[in-house]
Subunit: 430 residues, 2 copies
């Protein structure tokens, strides 16, 4: 379920061979720490919901997407012919791969499956200024359960993933709709089924397009469609879904909005998208039911109801940076993760071998330990200890075979013997 | 520093559109758990050494590799022309990207940099039966330090990464060599510098090639080269490196072996490869110094000494599966990681809403909680609790508003009120 890949980034490019390809990011350590923070929270909440992690390949046969993903995805496929004359594509979304894998391995697993995945996705479009061509997504899917309970569980997961970043009901909302609401509507208005897919695309685009353009495309249906969008349609199923989320205490995070249709062609039932409340950013996440996709991709060999959502890293990261409590939580977590435990200060080069022998033991005890690779002034070593966030500095010098242990937070110092050292370190680091 | 991508996997392919592209793996949950186990340990040990994580893009300009990676890598490039007429390649290795990124951002960081990265790499070769076209690698690099201390730190890290999987000096050895040993040798034998690169490739291949073929390529040098390989060359620098590793208690994990040269063209000094002791598998890891690469890729704009190694997931995973204590440690860790904390048993459907309200709170308390999406027999629910490794089952039924809490390990049961539940859960889960 691809949250669209249409993100903007400032045009900052280095000259010559020093730059990455247009639209591809380098993750320097600070960027990578932010990315890992997002991945870790994605993973944690999905596991809390009992979802198991899996992953597909970044490259697939182009056919996998041509059949079912819909025009917008196919137009922007990052596809090419490989050296073996195969038509292949860097994956734009995960759902077709999931359908392929589930169809191939269906008998190996008890249903329903609750699976999640974290990976990179790609698209190519001609106009390119400041647009990314890759992003990372969390994908969460439930396979083999047609009951609305699965839709409720999935929307709850989407909400809780966002809450795990410190985002509240003031910061985001999940808009929920039902494609069957519209197919019922088309049926009531005597629209032949062949036209439903195109009409759904028109309704999907209606919020981003001039009203006249939408009206022209809708023809006779324009009047009733606009009236429905204005009044906010309702259905028993949508009400039941809202009640299920209310029972979990999540009512404030959702709104029923039949204007949400989603661009992908394969959705069949409940669909939803998460947005920031002020509507400043593109969708944070999106998903829905695709009950026919597995059957279609396996030529009818395997038929399983399914639903899922995807959340991209780019809009989420922008939103976290925008919301003070989310930003603070992120920087705090990243700051802590970056810290080392112990810095080994070598005050006398004659003690280097002794210091390194002990450093090896401390690392074996799982501590994060760093030291100067080459002779360095003691003051600069303490400065490095500070910069690296070390909670302990160990000084190896004239006092050997005693080691001076400095608690960097309290500045308290003690002289300890080599064999006392581990217990002192453990006391401070806990 | 690419550990080569030449891995074999059994030829197991599904018919029709249900299969991945040849050489690309699907990671079902069990496979993904093994992969994540490897990633987690890679990350943990690199952090213990004070390395910071970064990541580059999976796609780069083909030129980045054509210049410097050497013939073998370029022949097997997974490259193509993109829709913007750019010559691009799915990355075969990380070092050129690192050199590019460091040259572009050199002023932003204090040297030396200690950086690591975990990502996927690709190659394409015509003959393909059972060969992978992708794998994952840990890359660890130190940038901006020419002292041998950096080489020692890097080899120690490589050893400790393998030790973290429960592998011992009986299971693997790191063979260490020095390209300068050979360039000194060529100089002593009056070989013009232009020929050194080719000769290094011949020596690199000598262990895998018939002796006569090597002899023919070496010509007059055959006799002295074979004599050196037989007697095992020595150099003060290699002895100093061995002494540094001995000081850390790692002497049993290494052997000096000048037959190791490495295939990549850009190495300049110390090079090393890790192998399983019986020599059953291909190299587990490999790396070395590439002091000129950053300068070459930046057209001389930035010059920094550098060194690094890469370790792939495929051979490592085979080795872990082969060695009993490593295999056991892996399955134990994966088994624990897979477990949920609590299974919510809904014995009366009237209690479903109450159960789900409490489930939401338990998940908010960070517990992993699962439940039946639809009405299910109680016995089957307890079976699911068992299968999912739940340590607690909570039963919502006739006793409501009291909940029956079952410790799955001891089979002990208690009836507790809703507000007592959290403390009881915490007592059992700790």
């Amino acid at each position: 379920m691809s949250a669209e890949l249409i993100e903007t980034v400032p045009e900052q490019r280095k000259p010559g061979s020093m730059q990455s390809l247009p639209g591809f990011r380098d993750f320097l350590p600070d960027d990578c720490a932010r990315r890992n923070y997002i991945f870790a929270r994605w993973r944690k909440v999905a596991r809390r919901y009992g979802f198991l992690e899996w992953e597909g390949p970044p490259l697939e046969a182009t056919d996998l997407y041509k059949k079912k993903s819909g025009a917008e995805i196919v137009e922007q496929l990052f596809n090419f012919t490989d050296k073996g004359e195969r038509e292949v594509a860097l994956r734009p979304e995960l759902t077709p791969t999931l359908a392929r894998v589930v169809a191939a391995h269906e008998r190996e697993f008890k249903k329903p499956l609750k699976w999640f995945s974290i990976g990179q996705f790609f698209r190519y479009e001609k106009q390119q200024r400041g647009r990314l061509r890759e992003h990372f997504q969390l994908n969460c899917d439930i396979i083999g359960e047609k009951d609305l309970a699965a839709d409720i569980e999935l929307v709850a997961l989407c909400i809780d993933v966002l809450r795990a970043f410190g985002l509240t009901e003031k910061d985001f909302v999940v808009r929920i709709s039902d494609r069957e609401f519209w197919t019922d509507f088309f049926r009531d208005n005597n629209v032949p089924a062949e036209g439903w897919g195109d009409l759904l695309q028109v309704i999907d685009k209606s919020a981003r397009e001039p009203r006249e353009k939408t009206a022209e495309k809708l023809g006779d249906l324009a009047e009733p469609v606009f009236a429905t969008l204005r009044s906010g349609g309702k259905s028993p199923r949508l009400e039941q879904l809202a009640a299920g989320l209310q029972a979990r205490g999540l009512a404030d995070f959702i709104s029923i909005d039949v204007g949400i249709v989603r661009g992908l062609a394969y959705y069949t039932g409940i669909v939803f998208e998460a947005f920031d409340r002020p509507g400043k950013f593109r969708a944070i996440a999106g998903g829905g039911r695709y009950d026919n996709l597995i059957s279609q991709l396996s030529d009818g060999a395997v038929s399983l109801p399914a639903l899922g959502f995807a959340m991209g890293d780019v809009v989420l990261s922008e939103l976290i940076t925008e919301i003070p409590q989310a930003r603070e939580a992120m920087y705090k977590a990243i700051g802590n993760e970056r810290k080392i435990d112990i810095y080994v200060v070598i005050a006398k080069e004659q003690r280097r071998a002794d210091a390194l022998a002990q450093l090896q033991q401390l690392r074996d005890c799982k501590y994060r330990v760093d030291y100067p690779l080459t002779p360095t002034k003691v003051a600069r070593q303490f400065q490095a200890a500070e910069e690296l966030g070390a909670r302990i500095a160990l000084l190896y010098g004239d006092e050997w075979p005693q080691v001076r242990i400095k608690n960097m937070a309290t500045a308290q110092q003690e002289l300890v013997s080599m064999h006392e050292l581990p217990s002192h370190v453990e006391r401070i680091l806990g």
